[in-house]
């Protein structure tokens, strides 16, 4: 029996969603297991970071005071982040790439060592694990060193790198969930807005960083989760482009098929594809003669506009086995195309090799869910669903726009919205009916 298309669609999306889900799940577990141990007041009070420089929230303050303080905190934090980003941009502009790499390594070391270490300590205390300090230190050190090596190391399996990225995300997120409540919410919203501006606005630091990196054909020296498919590279990239194609199929069908049936979308899709097949015969020939030609074909295709080039690329993917690209060669093609095409993402990007998601997005998603976990399980589920669907929307938009997109705004907006809706509207409803053993 032939494999149906159900298996090939959405591989990329799941490839990004599953680590995010794992990260959020572990943060929620951490928050649950740690917060139930200590008394609620002491857990919240004793951290002092850049996020609450100005104002330390006091439970006895009035709502207006809290809001004002939280706004100030968020403002200061966002300004700090913006300054740091501009600093990094400057450094990158003046080619201090190795400094940046070392700095990233150092920060990974620091995060894993201190924040991860403190999480280990509290876990050991919570579950009273009998371990002596020397063993613990050696274990921690090993863990940290492998983590640092895996950040930019070459010979390290991608799965190790991915899991360390998730670990980093968990450490920072678990740390940030200790922020006071109002500050957390305002901070999340502020960061979503900042992300939107920094990635999309002309002159936004992240946008400039991304463009700079793509003009130099380099990887950004930053902590980025790469959802490179761990099993078969080709299957994954097929999935991503197929998603893009699917989406453009839908949107292309949208204006015309609203009044009539959706069969017109199929026709349009067909038309596009035939058009592209004709074009791509040439491109493919070029490509197969020598790989130098590939760059040219990519540039030429770049001019077709988003959906066309996607369709075209998918055709190439389809055709390459027919015209005899071996597996290894196909890999090179992908590599080159990746560089030439480089819809580089500070936050998310779809490339031929996979989607990249900034680690900051992991962190702040998890912070939101962790903060929701301090209220109730119901809000956790609602926020999780909202964030994941926001991420899905972002990815779909990404496959339409094919430029770097901020991953925070949609998800955070939905997450915050669902949190408050759940907390204010749904909880009395659910508790009222469920405690009377009524369901529907």
């Amino acid at each position: 029996m032939e494999s149906s298309i159900l298996e090939s669609i959405g591989v990329e999306i799941i490839g990004v969603m599953s680590p995010v889900s794992i990260c959020m799940f572990l943060v929620v577990l951490l928050v649950y297991s740690l917060s139930s141990s200590s008394s609620p007041s002491s857990a919240v009070s004793d951290i002092r970071t850049a996020a609450n420089l100005v104002y330390a929230e006091n439970p006895s303050d009035t709502a207006a005071q809290k809001l004002e303080g939280a706004l100030l905190n968020a403002l200061v934090f966002v300004i700090l982040i913006a300054i740091v980003t501009f600093l990094l941009l400057l450094l990158y502009y003046y080619n201090c790439t190795s400094f940046l790499k070392h700095y990233t390594r150092f920060s990974a070391f620091f995060v894993l060592g201190s924040m991860g270490g403190s999480i280990f300590l509290s876990l050991i205390q919570r579950f009273s694990i009998p371990v002596d300090s020397v063993t613990c230190f050696i274990l921690l050190f090993n863990f940290t060193v492998v983590g640092v090596l895996s950040v930019f190391g070459t010979g390290i399996p991608i799965i190790v790198r991915q899991s360390y990225m998730v670990c980093l995300g968990i450490s920072v997120a678990a740390w940030l969930t200790k922020l006071p409540e109002w500050t957390t919410w305002v901070l999340l919203v502020a960061l979503a807005v900042y992300d939107l501006v920094a990635v999309l606005a002309p002159g936004g630091p992240l946008k400039m960083l991304v463009e700079l990196a793509s003009s130099r054909n380099e990887e950004l020296p930053a902590l980025i989760y790469e959802a490179r498919p761990t099993t078969v590279a080709r299957a994954g990239s097929r999935g991503g482009t197929s998603l893009g194609l699917l989406v453009t199929g839908v949107t292309a069908g949208e204006p015309s098929s609203a009044p009539s049936s959706s069969s017109s979308s199929a026709i349009e899709l067909q038309a596009v594809s035939r058009d592209n097949k004709d074009r791509n015969v040439n491109d493919n020939l070029n490509e197969n003669r020598d790989y130098g030609g590939n760059e040219y074909s990519v540039v030429a295709m770049g001019g077709f506009g988003g959906e066309r080039s996607q369709g075209g690329r998918n055709d190439e993917e389809e055709r390459s086995p027919l015209v005899g690209n071996g597996g290894g060669e196909g890999g090179i093609v992908d590599e080159e195309r990746h560089e030439g095409n480089e819809s580089r993402g500070g936050d998310v990007e779809i490339a031929e090799r996979g989607i990249k998601l900034g680690l900051g997005d992991f962190v702040f998603y998890s912070v939101l869910v962790g903060r929701a976990a301090m209220y109730d399980l119901m809000t956790v589920y609602a926020c999780y669903l909202a964030i994941i669907s926001g991420l899905g929307c972002t990815l779909i938009l990404l496959s339409v726009c094919r430029q770097a997109l901020p991953a925070l705004p949609i998800s955070i907006t939905l997450g915050v919205l669902f949190y408050f809706l759940t907390r204010l509207l749904m909880e009395p409803f659910i508790v009222g009916t469920a405690t009377n053993l009524m369901m529907f």
Partner: protein, 250 residues
């Protein structure tokens, strides 16, 4: 021990759906996406409903009719939502078929369509169990349990897990029935699903009466088994006819 009890309750409610998820859904990414979006749809419907009912809650009366109105209106809302879901699915199916033409793969098989329906139903069912059962389960992990007046012999958490299991079954498989009914234009199946839903919802009203859960829950399980049985028979019939058609063609 209390953690074990909490996990046990959660597994009673969600164990079967978990095994369906692991064995069938998780192998195909598209189905995972279907489950997620269907869960989200259900959550949004629940939020909308609770937004409507927020003004009247909490009900102070012990009479049953406000609850009856609540349940009936909610079920009506959700059945309308199911129709909407079907419309979305229909467009999705066309897109998928068009896409399959593009990449020179076969169209969706009958089993694929049923799998999508199953995933959609599973999303509804899981959302139901999660919000009605798991989210009130948090205290079960602590060192105590809770009894309600109407059913004082059995812990509340066990009761709600059992009810949730019945509803997960009903939701999951009635979606398969409904989608097939819509696709075939089969009136019996189209009406079977809302009726089952209403009957199941009304049966939970029995729990309001003192000692009613000893009657209500077995009846609920009969409804769930009936749904399961009907679904199985229908799928079997469709697969047989499909096989016969393909044999005749070849």
């Amino acid at each position: 021990m209390t953690v074990a009890a909490g996990i046990g309750y959660a597994l009673i409610a969600l164990g079967p759906s978990l095994s369906i998820f692991v064995s069938v859904i998780s192998k195909k990414p598209f189905l995972i996406l279907t489950v997620l979006s269907s869960t989200l749809l259900w959550l949004m419907s629940l939020i909308a409903l609770s937004g409507i009912w927020r003004g009247f809650l909490p009900l102070k009366t012990t009479s049953w009719w406000p609850y009856a109105i609540l349940i009936l209106s909610s079920i009506a809302f959700q059945e309308v939502l199911r129709l909407l879901f079907w419309k979305i699915y229909k467009r999705l199916e066309d897109t998928l078929d068009a896409f399959a033409d593009r990449v020179a793969k076969p169209h969706l098989f009958l089993t694929d369509k049923m799998l999508i329906a199953l995933a959609g139903g599973l999303g509804h069912g899981v959302a139901h169990a999660v919000f009605f059962c798991i989210s009130v389960l948090t205290p079960a992990f602590g060192p105590a349990t809770y009894f309600v007046d109407q059913c004082s012999k059995v812990p509340f958490f066990l009761l709600s897990a059992l009810i949730a299991l019945a509803f997960v079954t009903i939701h999951t498989f009635s979606m398969v029935i409904a989608f097939n009914g819509y696709a075939e234009g089969n009136k019996v199946d189209e009406y079977f699903v809302p009726i089952v839903h209403v009957v199941a919802g009304v049966l939970t009203l029995i729990n309001l009466a003192p000692g009613g859960c000893t009657v209500g829950i077995p009846l609920l399980y009969i409804v769930a088994i009936l749904t399961l049985f009907h679904c199985g028979r229908m799928v079997w019939r469709r697969l047989l006819t499909e096989n016969r058609i393909s044999l005749n063609h070849s």
